[in-house]
Each structure stands twice: as C-alpha cells, then as structure tokens.
C-alpha cells in the first residue's frame, strides 16, 4: 500500500492531483461533453502522452528533444498500417488492378505488398512493433548521440533534422506510405467498426486508462533512485559522471522510455481519429508538443495534461473564430511561458494555488461553524 501511495502516486500532493485528473477526464468530461467534443478531447489526450514523455526527458533529464513527433508518428503509422491492411481486404479492393493491397499503392503502380508492410497483417505483431520499433529507433539515435556526449542544443537540432528526414521520406515515398495525405479511410479493428459511437466511447476510456497508467509509471521512475540521478544529470552532468555513473546509459534509457510513451499516444491517435498523416510527424507538431509540456509545467506529470488540453481547446476555439489571432497568441504564449512562467501552469498553481485552497478551506470552516452550516450538517446526518 505504501508502495502504491509513495511510489506510484507521489505522496499526498501527487495523489490528490492524480485523483482530480482522473475524476476530470474519466467522469466530468464524458458527462459534460457530446461525443464529437469528447472524441476531440480524446485526440488531445493522445498528445498528452508526448507531453508527459517530455516531462521525463526535458523537465527532469534536461534533454530537449524536438523530435517526439517522430515516435508519435511511428506509433501512429504502425497502427494505421494494420488498420489499412484490414480495410483493404481483396473483397473491399476488388476494383483495383491488384486487389488486396492498400489503395494508394495501387495508384502508384505497386503490384505487391512491400516487405515491411507484411508483419502488419497480424495484430499481435503490430502491437509489438508499436511498442518496440520506436524505442529501438530511439535507442539507435540515443546511443549514437549520448555515447559521444552530444547534448543540449545539438541534440535538439539533430532530433529536429531526423523529424524533417522522416517527414520528407513519408511524403516522397507515396507508394509505400500514402504520401502527404497519409493513411486514410481506416474502418475496422479486427472486424469491429472503429467509427461507431460505442467504439469512440470505448477508445476514449482506454486512452484515459493508458494515460493514467503512463503517469503512474513515470511517477514510479521519477521517485526511484533513477529519478534523482536524472535530476542530478540535468543539473551537473560532469559531477554525476565523475561519481562513477555512466551518464549516457541513463540518458539513453529515458529517451527510449519517452519514445515508447509517445508511440502509445500515436497509436491511440490513429484509433480515435481514424487516419495518420505526415503532418503529425514533422517539426511543427514536435515543437507544439514541447509547448504543451512548457505551458502545463515541464516538471509536472499531471500539469502537462491540462496544458495540452488548454492549448488544444484554445487552438480549436480560436481557429474557428479568429484564425489570424491564434498564431499571435500562441507565439506570445511561448514567449510568456519561457520568460515569466518557466514552470508553466503547475508552477503558477504551486505559487498561488494555496491562496485559493486556503480560502476554500476557510469557506468550509465557516460553513461548518456557522449556525446555518450546523443545521445543514444536522439535516444531512438525519437523512
């Protein structure tokens, strides 16, 4: 019990934050929003996976990755490839010159399924690929970089370049990847209609459950000795190295774990939104993920979820009514967060939140002590 309390929840404040978040996304939002909006929230929450990965990586590890879109995209494309293969069964694609392969391959004069698509016929292999490929890719990048002590801004730039390479590759290799349109027209998962209303609800709750699990797993990592070492590496890397730790292995591990989390987010994105395209892989989405983390609070696992929701709701609301204002606002937000609120929403809550909670508890005391409150209480006791 103490293990769950201290290590997975992070003590009293962590537990209350976690429970409030769970209450908010599991009960309040589903009850107050219609399905369309709830589906949107589900989509935003998949970005929160990437934002959480950045808390570990950037907030605690001090490693700024501008390429979380890579892993989000790999996870998303993995799931999309499976769904696409299922959607392009020989019966569904009988009008094509080569039935049984995805439509965009047929348009690009491909006559058989490329070898790297074949494993995605199996659901089990797809899940394994989603969990392993992005992490393995992250291991390659991380090992090459951190072993050679490339860090800081160089790491940021190189991850960004890799994101560009992947985007250009996906867009350029239309026959293999669906090009700029991405992989669209996804219908069923093992014969189950993913566009139906019930499926949308179920995916939303699976997504929330996964998100909460990821928060717990991340909390477990951060409260362990590894978490303290991570912070130490962020603040004085050389000192940790001179104490006899192999800094690069710690960094590689956290980068792989972050990649895994983002990939799960990507896969859930595809399931809820019903398509995947290169516009969720490149520079802009990757930097937006950093902003979600920065606005929510780069040191707060729970805060970034609110940050992600807030920015995305703002984006939707503004781009509906004042599209030209949104970029100004977003740019201003970047600057303001970096300059004035380096710890984001979570930092503001930490600094000013106790005024609010004090006032609330004062109110509660007042209600309980006042005569009216006492009668109320009595009435509640009676009923």
């Amino acid at each position: 019990m103490t293990f769950v309390y201290e290590r997975l929840m992070g003590g009293k404040s962590g537990l209350s934050g976690f429970l409030i978040l769970a209450l908010f996304i599991l009960i309040v939002l589903p009850l107050s929003l219609d399905l369309f909006r709830l589906n949107l929230v589900g989509k935003y929450l998949t970005y929160a996976f990437a934002a959480i990965s950045l808390v570990l990586l950037w907030g605690y590890g001090g490693i700024l990755s501008l390429g979380q879109g890579i892993f989000f995209g790999l996870g998303g494309y993995g799931m999309a490839m499976f769904l696409k293969l299922e959607a392009s069964s020989p019966e569904n694609t009988a009008i094509q010159s080569t039935p049984g392969i995805p439509d965009f391959m047929d348009w690009n004069q491909l006559t058989e399924l490329p070898w790297f698509w074949v494993p995605f016929n199996s659901f089990t292999l797809t899940i394994i690929a989603i969990l392993i490929l992005p992490a393995a890719f992250a291991y390659l990048i991380g090992a090459a970089m951190f072993k050679r002590r490339v860090g800081g801004v160089y790491f940021a730039i190189i991850t960004q370049v890799i994101a560009v390479i992947l985007t250009v590759l996906i867009v350029g290799q239309q026959g293999f990847t669906g090009g700029i349109n991405g992989i669209t027209d996804l219908r069923t998962l093992n014969g189950w209609d993913i566009t139906s209303n019930s499926a949308k609800y179920i995916f939303y709750f699976i997504n929330c459950a996964l998100l909460l699990t990821v928060i717990m797993a991340s909390r477990f990592i951060l409260t362990s000795k590894f978490g303290s070492l991570l912070l130490a590496i962020r603040d004085k890397e050389d000192r940790v190295r001179f104490s006899g730790y192999d800094v690069s292995n710690f960094k590689i591990f956290v980068f792989c774990f972050a990649a895994l989390i983002s990939a799960i987010g990507g896969a859930m994105f595809t399931l809820q939104v019903g398509f995947m395209s290169p516009s969720f892989v490149g520079i802009v989405p990757s930097i937006e993920m950093v902003i979600f983390a920065a606005v929510g609070g780069r040191m707060s696992l729970v805060g970034v979820v609110y940050g992600t929701l807030l920015i995305n709701f703002g984006k939707t609301a503004f781009s509906e009514s004042f599209p030209e204002l949104w970029l100004f606002l977003m740019g201003g937000l970047f600057i303001a967060v970096v300059m004035f609120f380096p710890n984001g929403l979570a930092g503001i809550w930490k600094d000013y939140g106790h005024h609010l909670t004090n006032r609330l508890s004062g109110l509660r005391n007042w209600v309980q002590n006042s005569p009216a409150g006492a009668t109320n209480k009595k009435m509640v006791d009676n009923t």
Binding site: W58, L64, L66, A144, M145, R148, R149, V150, G152, V153, Y154, A156, I157, I158, Q160, V161, I162, V164, I165, V168, L169, V171, G172, I283, I287, V290, I291, A294, E324, L327, F328, M330, G331, G332, L333, F334, I335, V337, V338, M339, P342
Partner: protein, 307 residues
C-alpha cells in the same frame, strides 16, 4: 549514364553545379548570420528564417514603391534594397535582443522556444500585412537573362549576382570578425565572458550588436533570395533546418567551416537532385549529415570555446 554524351553530361554537371552555387549562396548568407549568433553567443535563433523573410519583404516593398513613384530608378533600386534589408532586419534583431533574448542567455534551450514563439508572431505579421500569397519583386532588367559560354551551358545572371553578393558579404564578415577591433571584442566575449567584462569590454553591448548583425545578414540573405524564388509568410521555416545543419556541420564559430559546409551541402543536394527526385536528394543529404555528425559531433572545424 546512357542517353547522354560526355559533353552533354559535362554541361549538366556545370549547370547543376551552378544551381548548387545559387543554393550555396543563400544557405551561406543565412548560415553566416546564424553562425555569428549561434557560434559566438550560443543562442539558437529559430526566428532566423523570419529575419530573412523581413529582408525579402523589404526588397519587395522597395521594388513596388520604385515601380509606382520612380520607374526610371528601377535599375538601381536593388542596391538600396540590400542596404535597407540589412538595416531593417538588423534593427528588428536589435529590438528582439533587447526585449527577449538578453533575459535568456543562461538558458540556451529556452531561447530556442522563445525565438520559435517570435517566429510564429513574425509569420502571422507577414500574413496580415502582405497576404498569404507568395510575392516576388520586379527585378531590374540586368538581373534577368542568362550567360551562355557554350551552346549547351546556360547560366542565369541572377545566380551570378547572388554569388558575387555572397562573396562580398563573406569578405565583409571576415574583416569585421577577424580584422577589426569590434570583432576582437566579440571573439574575446565568446572565449571568456567574465574576463572580457573585467578588461573593460561592454559585453551586453557586444551581445546586442552581434545579434543585430546576425539578423541584418539574414536580411541581406532575404534580399538575395528574392532574385531566385518568391517569398511567402512561411519561406523562412523552409530554410531554417538546412541552415542549422550548415552551421552545426561546419562547426559553430568557424567561418571557414561554415563556408565549406554550405558548399558541400548545397552541391550534394543539387547534383543529387538531377539524378534522383528532389525529396530523396534532401533525405540522403540530411541523412549523410546526421551520420557524419554522429561520428564527429563537433562539426568539420571545431573551435575550442571555454564557457
């Protein structure tokens, strides 16, 4: 290479090579500014592409003004435009440093985010002021047409002009950084900020002018860019990653490294572009760069910097 005779192949190489020179010029002009800012100050300026766009839009505005009010001056406006682009982009850079960057010198990763925010604001300003469509200035007649040394080789004049401009600017930067008192102060500040302050160099002022100079050069790059392609609100972002690669690959703070790496990247890309599709050329070039950087993280020419 079936289908081509040797002389044709030679001409293709010469022309693609020259196309590479145009790309090289723009990349180098962009990278010079960035190398000064990143190499000397350690600031990641994600808005650098937007400062280039400022230069390009300045040129466009001047060409429209000249066309409307003084058509007879059309052949000469471009020189004024280059200077104006430098001054306006430099001034904006000066302001950005004063308002934004100087608070963030101790947090290099945060400058990256703040300047990205700045770039979003600048992009939207371009869109609000000049519209979402791409614009291009009316070029003076002497920039149009091409030079034909043989029947099969066709070299555009604007490319040659940009190459000349790049040479002049590069020499200017070299003089400023390595032969003038001001450059001495900048390099001293880079090598040891505290000590430079102790010997009486106003490091705050050095930082501000260095940043302004870097942005000003990006403005010149923008003016040069208008002769090659048209400018839109998002033009800057297209080049920013390539430019960063040039600077990182060349080894930040090394002028020779920046020149050589801009040359290598531009030539590799434009010669590959002829044989395979443009997107794959870019993929291979960037991939090769990433791989090289993994083995040689400090870039081609690293300078020893003490922080």
């Amino acid at each position: 290479m079936d289908g081509y005779t040797y002389s044709e192949l030679g001409s293709i190489l010469a022309m693609q090579g020259f196309a590479g020179f145009s790309l090289f010029s723009v990349l180098l002009l962009m990278a010079l500014g960035l190398a000064i800012i990143f190499g000397q100050m350690g600031v990641i300026n994600m808005a650098h592409g937007e400062f280039m766009a400022v230069g390009a839009y300045t040129t466009y505005m001047l060409s429209t003004l000249t066309e409307t009010y003084a058509p007879s001056l059309m052949p000469y406006y471009f020189f004024v435009a280059i200077v104006a682009a430098f001054l306006i982009a430099g001034l904006l850079g000066y302001i950005a440093e004063f308002v934004l960057i100087r608070h963030l010198y101790k947090r290099p990763l945060d400058t990256l985010l703040a300047t990205w925010g700045l770039s979003l604001i600048m992009q939207q300003s371009f869109r609000s002021i000049f519209g979402a469509r791409e614009v291009s200035p009316a070029l003076p007649d002497w920039l149009l047409g091409s030079y034909q040394p043989t029947d099969t080789i066709d070299i555009p004049l604007n490319g040659m002009f940009v190459l000349g401009l790049t040479t002049v600017v590069t020499l200017g930067v070299y003089y400023l950084m390595f032969r003038s008192r001001w450059g001495l102060r900048v390099r001293a500040t880079t090598q040891n900020r505290v000590m430079s302050g102790a010997v009486g160099i106003n490091t705050t002022k050095v930082d501000r002018y260095t940043f302004a100079l870097g942005c000003g050069i990006a403005g010149i790059a923008g003016a040069a860019f208008t002769t090659i392609a048209s400018t839109g609100p998002t033009t800057g972002t297209l080049y920013i990653v390539d430019t960063f690669m040039v600077v990182v690959f060349g080894g930040a703070a090394s002028l020779l490294g920046t020149i050589l790496s801009a040359f290598t990247i531009a030539q590799a890309q434009s010669i590959l572009e002829f044989f395979i599709s443009g997107s794959m050329a870019k993929v291979y070039t960037l991939l090769a760069l990433v791989l090289i950087l993994m083995f040689k993280p400090e870039g081609l020419f690293a300078s020893k910097i003490r922080r």
